[in-house]
C-alpha cells in the first residue's frame, strides 16, 4: 500500500505543469501575483495565464519562454525542470529552423546526386548528337565536294583539262575505247554552228560534244581514210577518254573485273564517302560507307579515287598498303591509283 502511494506521488510530481511549479514557487517565496507582475513588468492577467498554463493567451512561444525563465529565476524555481515540463506540453520544434547537424542531410545529398546524374545524361546525349551530326556532315560534305567538283568540271573546260591530265594513263586502251564509243553516235549530226545556237545552260555541254565530234572525225580520218572538211585538232585522245569518263552514264559500260584487274581494298576506321572509278571511268564504288566496314573492289587500273574522310580510311592495293597521305587535302583526298602499273 505504501509502495503504491509513493509511486503515485512521484508520477504526480513528474507531470506537474510549469504553471503549477511557478505558482508553488511564488507561494513559497511569499509573493502575490501582483508583486510578481510588478517585478517582471507583466500584467496580472499574464501572470495568471502563466500559472494556469494558458500559453495561448500569451503573445508567442519566444515570449512565453522568456516569461517562464524570468518568473522561475524570480521565485527560485529550477529553470530546467520548468522547461522540461513546458516542452512536454508544447511542440518544441521552431518552424523553419533545423537543429545543428554535424553530418550532411541525406535529402540534400540525394538532390545533388540526381542533379549530377541529369547533367551527365544531358552531356552524353549532347555528345552523341554532336557525333552523329559530325558524321552526317562528313558524308554530305564528301558528296557535296564530289558534286561540286563534277559541276566545276562540266562547267569549266580549263578545270576539266587539269583534272583529266592526272587520268591520262593508258592512251592505247583509251583510244580504242574512244573509237568504239564515238563511231556511229547520233551526235555526229551536230556541227559547230549547232553548238553556237545552243542555250546558255547547255552551251558548255554542247561545246564539249562539238569538240568531241570534231576529234572523232579526226580519228575517223586517221583510221578509215576519208577526209572531212572539219579542221584538225591537236587534242590528245586522253582528253576524249576523260570527257567520256566524267559524263559517266553516257559512257558505255565495261566490265569491272577484267583479266588484268587489280584489287583495291578499303578499310574504314571512320565513316567516309568513296568514289572509285576504273581506267574507263566506270564507277566501281560511289557511296557513303560506315565505320568498321571493309570493301574490296577489282577493276582495271589506273583507278581514280576520291575519299570524303581521308583520315578514316586505309587502302591496300593488290594486298599492299598504299600511302595516300601526300594527296590529302583537308578532310578529303583525291588521287590516282595504279598509274605505274603495266
Amino acid at each position: 500500500m505504501n509502495a503504491e502511494s509513493t509511486v503515485s506521488v512521484t508520477s504526480n510530481e513528474d507531470v506537474r505543469s510549469p504553471g503549477e511549479m511557478l505558482a508553488q514557487g511564488r507561494q513559497r517565496s511569499g509573493r502575490t501575483k501582483e508583486e510578481v507582475a510588478v517585478q517582471l513588468n507583466l500584467s496580472v492577467d499574464q501572470i495568471q495565464a502563466l500559472e494556469e498554463n494558458r500559453f495561448g493567451d500569451l503573445p508567442g512561444k519566444t515570449y512565453v519562454q522568456g516569461y517562464l525563465k524570468a518568473y522561475a529565476r524570480l521565485v527560485g524555481c529550477e529553470e530546467k525542470e520548468i522547461f522540461r515540463n513546458f516542452n512536454l506540453q508544447e511542440d518544441t520544434s521552431i518552424r523553419g529552423i533545423k537543429p545543428v547537424m554535424t553530418g550532411p542531410e541525406s535529402g540534400g545529398r540525394h538532390k545533388k546526386v540526381w542533379s549530377l546524374l541529369v547533367i551527365v545524361a544531358l552531356g552524353v546525349l549532347s555528345f552523341m548528337w554532336w557525333q552523329s551530326r559530325e558524321q552526317a556532315d562528313v558524308g554530305s560534305r564528301g558528296a557535296d565536294l564530289i558534286q561540286r567538283d563534277m559541276g566545276s568540271i562540266s562547267q569549266d573546260p580549263d578545270q576539266n583539262e587539269v583534272w583529266t591530265e592526272t587520268r591520262i594513263l593508258d592512251p592505247a586502251t583509251m583510244q580504242s575505247t574512244n573509237a568504239s564509243e564515238t563511231i556511229g553516235e547520233p551526235e555526229s549530226s551536230l556541227t559547230p554552228q549547232d553548238v553556237e545556237r545552243a542555250q546558255p545552260e547547255d552551251e558548255l555541254r554542247a561545246r564539249i560534244e562539238a569538240e568531241e565530234l570534231s576529234l572523232t572525225r579526226e580519228q575517223n580520218a586517221e583510221t578509215a581514210g576519208p577526209a572531212t572538211d572539219i579542221p584538225q585538232s591537236e587534242s590528245s585522245p586522253g582528253t576524249l577518254v576523260d570527257d567520256a569518263a566524267f559524263r559517266g552514264g553516257e559512257a558505255p559500260s565495261t566490265p569491272a573485273q577484267t583479266s588484268n584487274g587489280r584489287t583495291v581494298t578499303f578499310e574504314f576506321d571512320a565513316s567516309s564517302w568513296v568514289d572509285l572509278r576504273d581506267a574507263d571511268g566506270q564507277r566501281l564504288l560511289y557511296e557513303h560507307i560506315n565505320q568498321g566496314r571493309q570493301v574490296s573492289v577489282e577493276g582495271k587500273p589506273p583507278f581514280s579515287v576520291f575519299l570524303g574522310n581521308a583520315d578514316g580510311v586505309r587502302i591496300e592495293y593488290d594486298g599492299k598498303p598504299f600511302d595516300f597521305s601526300a594527296y590529302v587535302n583537308g578532310v578529303y583526298a583525291r588521287f590516282s591509283l595504279g598509274s605505274d602499273a603495266p
Binding site: N41, G60, T62, Y63, G66, Y67, A70, V100, S115
Partner: protein
C-alpha cells in the same frame, strides 16, 4: 551560367560576420562554424610577402602574444570592415572550410548581416568581400531583422516587436512590424566597449595593464549589469605600470559594474530613445510583450533585470543569444520566398 551549375553543388550560406565572432549557417545543416573573427598574418623579412598564418580560434590565441613579424588582426571593427583584404581572406577561409565539395569549387548564395547603421560604402565593402570570396549572389540583412527572425518573432504580422542585439562591436535596437523596420538604430557601444572600459578601470584604479583577452575573461566571469547582483571575485595578472613587473590583483563585480556602467547607460538610453520614436500602437504592443534581447551582451549576468528596471518593459532573453543572428540569417535563407523582402538594400 557556369556559376549557376556549380551552385547546384554548393550549399547556400548565411553568415553572421560579427566583430567578435563569425558564424556560418549552412542550408539544411545548421550552424556549422563559430570562430573568432581574427586573422594572424606573417610578414616576411623585409616586409615584402604577407602570408596568412592562422584564422579563427588559432589566431585568437595569438592575440597580444605575437612577435614582430606576426600580426593578429581583427579585420572587423564596430560591426563593419576595417581591413578589406584581411576580411576577404578570412571569409574565403571560412567558406572553404564549410563547403564539402572542393573539387567543383562551388559558388554559393550568401546572406550576410550588416549593422542597421552601416553606411552604403560599408555595405558595399561587405558585399564585395563576399563576392570576392566566391559568392554567386549576395544578400544583406540588417541585424535587428535577423535577430527577430532568429528569435521566431512574428515579423510579418501587424504587431510591433522590439529587439536588442548587444554584439561585439555594435548594439542594435530595432522595432519591426509587417516584415519591415519601423525604427532602428545602431550604437557603437557593445562587448568590445565593455572590455576597453575594464582595461581602463584596472589601469586607473589598480595601476596594472591588462590585455583584451584578460579583460574579456573578467567580463565573462564576474561582470554584472545590475547593481543588486551577487558579488563575485576573480584574480588576474597584468603588468604593473610603475614597476614594469607582473602583478596579480583581485577584482570584484561591484568594481566591474562601476567600470562598465557608462556603456550600459548608453545602451539603456538608446532603448529609451527608440521607444520615444515608436508610433503609439506599436509602443502598446511592445509594452505588452516586451523586448527580446540577443547577442553576447545578453549573456551578461542580470542584463534582463537591469533592462527591466530601467525601461519598465518585460525583457525576454532569446534562446541561445550568441547564435540568434546566424539562425535568423539561416531562416531568411531557407524561407526566402515566404518571408518576403526582409533584405537590406544599398
Amino acid at each position: 551560367m557556369l556559376k549557376r551549375i556549380l551552385g547546384l553543388f554548393s550549399n547556400d550560406l548565411a553568415i553572421d560576420l560579427g566583430t567578435a565572432n563569425t558564424l556560418i549557417y549552412v542550408r539544411d545543416k545548421g550552424i556549422i562554424l563559430n570562430e573568432p573573427s581574427v586573422v594572424a598574418i606573417h610578414t616576411s623579412v623585409g616586409g615584402g610577402n604577407k602570408t596568412v598564418l592562422a584564422v579563427g580560434h588559432e589566431a585568437k590565441r595569438m592575440l597580444g602574444r605575437t612577435p614582430g613579424n606576426i600580426q593578429a588582426i581583427r579585420p572587423m571593427k564596430d560591426g563593419v570592415i576595417a581591413d578589406f583584404t584581411v576580411t576577404e581572406v578570412m571569409l574565403k577561409y571560412f567558406i572553404r572550410k564549410v563547403q564539402e565539395n572542393r573539387f567543383l569549387r562551388p559558388s554559393p548564395r550568401i546572406i550576410i548581416c550588416v549593422p542597421c547603421g552601416s553606411t552604403q560604402v560599408e555595405r558595399r565593402a561587405i558585399r564585395e568581400s563576399a563576392v570576392s570570396a566566391g559568392a554567386r549572389e549576395v544578400y544583406l540583412i540588417e541585424e535587428p531583422m535577423a535577430v527577430a527572425i532568429g528569435a521566431n518573432l512574428p515579423v510579418g504580422e501587424p504587431t510591433g516587436s522590439m529587439v536588442l542585439d548587444i554584439g561585439g562591436g555594435t548594439t542594435e535596437v530595432g522595432i519591426l512590424s509587417l516584415g519591415g523596420m519601423v525604427y532602428s538604430t545602431s550604437l557603437r557601444t557593445a562587448g568590445d566597449t565593455f572590455d576597453e572600459a575594464i582595461i581602463n578601470f584596472v589601469r586607473r584604479h589598480h595601476g596594472i595593464l591588462i590585455g583584451e583577452a584578460t579583460a574579456e575573461r573578467v567580463k565573462k566571469a564576474i561582470a554584472s549589469a545590475w547593481v543588486k547582483s551577487e558579488n563575485r571575485e576573480i584574480e588576474i595578472k597584468g603588468r604593473d605600470i610603475a614597476e614594469g613587473m607582473s602583478r596579480a590583483v583581485k577584482l570584484n563585480s561591484t568594481e566591474i559594474y562601476e567600470a562598465i556602467s557608462d556603456p550600459l547607460d548608453a545602451i539603456v538610453q538608446s532603448i529609451k530613445k527608440a521607444l520615444e520614436q515608436t508610433p503609439p500602437e506599436l509602443s502598446a504592443d511592445i509594452g505588452d510583450k516586451g523586448i527580446v534581447v540577443a547577442g553576447g551582451g545578453a549573456l551578461m549576468r542580470d542584463m534582463d533585470r537591469r533592462l527591466m528596471e530601467d525601461t519598465g518593459l518585460p525583457v525576454v532573453l532569446a534562446d541561445d543569444p550568441l547564435t540568434c543572428v546566424a539562425r535568423g540569417c539561416g531562416r531568411a535563407l531557407e524561407e526566402m520566398d515566404t518571408l518576403g523582402d526582409v533584405f537590406a538594400h544599398e
